[in-house]
Symmetry: C2
Subunit: 207 residues, 2 copies
């Protein structure tokens, strides 16, 4: 390109870096960079170093593999959590989503993904062996599978379910159904069908 779009290579470099982020186009990248340019040097250093420090110093909990500042995360080391129930999730966003409900007092196990042959992700790329290890060493009575209801999620669920079979452990999966507040006519057929098959006693539905 003989006609330079940017008047400064520093500017161009910063815009290119932002444009690499998912969902950020070049126009948005430029807008974000020009926003940062208006901030003080200290503020911009705070921004840049927050990301660099996170990447350099990041640790994962040795027990559940969630992101943690310590060897064992605050959930796994919490004295009042139910250590017999382990909820298996795909990633740390799922841990945060479940924690926000304040309905679960057990521990987690973060797989770090789901089995996806299309993306070249097999069982050995995930924290499945370490889950089995926890089952054998810790006194766990129930494993809750909370993966997404996609083909990959179902495959992973079934793989883990089979791995757990020899241990004679209670294995459950989170309830699927019509979301609270949703109207039936807009629900997809599969969800609606499953929610009829998996209907619960009315008196239990308020629990």
């Amino acid at each position: 390109m003989s006609h330079p779009q940017f008047s400064s290579s520093l500017l161009e470099n910063a815009v290119n870096e932002f444009a690499k982020l998912p969902g950020i186009g070049r126009k948005t990248a430029l807008r974000l960079v020009l926003h940062l340019l208006k901030k003080s040097e200290i503020e911009v250093e705070g921004f840049g170093n927050a990301v660099i420090d996170l990447r350099k110093q990041i640790q994962y909990c040795q027990v559940c593999h969630n992101i943690s500042d310590t060897d064992v995360c605050h959930i796994c080391s919490h004295p009042s959590r139910d250590r017999q129930t382990v909820c298996v999730v795909e990633n740390i966003k799922d841990v945060m989503a479940i924690e926000n409900t304040q309905q679960f007092r057990g521990l987690y196990h973060v797989l770090g993904g789901i089995i996806s042959p299309m993306d070249g992700i097999g069982p050995s790329d995930l924290e499945i062996e370490s889950l089995i290890q926890r089952i054998t060493t810790d006194n766990i009575s129930e494993v809750i599978l909370a993966l997404s209801t996609t083909m990959e999620g179902d495959t992973t669920n079934f793989f883990i379910f089979r791995k757990l079979a020899p241990f004679n452990i209670k294995t459950t999966t989170i309830a699927r159904g019509i979301a609270i507040g949703d109207e039936l006519e807009y629900a997809d057929e599969i969800t609606l069908g499953r929610s009829i098959l998996n209907r619960v006693e009315f008196s239990n539905s308020f629990k």
Copy 2:
């Protein structure tokens, strides 16, 4: 908040920094940070340092006040640009937009904003004095005002127009009208009205 949303303060800090950016909510911020976490340390350093270096080393062209890596930007120092025509714009994004058209071979003058009493921006906050200085010292024959057609843009246009009056210099403004490809029925009345008043000879419309 006794119930920590984030399992790591490093993670929380990085998400908070991203969420300060305009148009980036906390969910998007988390998604961007987790994306960066998957990258190598070198890539993440490249990202963070690109922003820090830009802010620390940024320079503005002494002539036109555009962002530049050198004292005088590549447009102002370009030997084949028309040094007698100066296009006055609000910010560097406007310079890039006009440069991308490849229709303008003159120089620019970046005001750094427009007069906006609501935001506390007066003429002295903008590069207007330095524009007058250029008029008096350089051999400029035409000033093109290319500000936005808002009340603030019109105010700024008029302020500069009056400042330029004593110099007996040609002052023009960019053409306003129906965008090429737009249908008349969807154009707003003011634009359509102006485009009729400022109609051009048909033979000139192909230039």
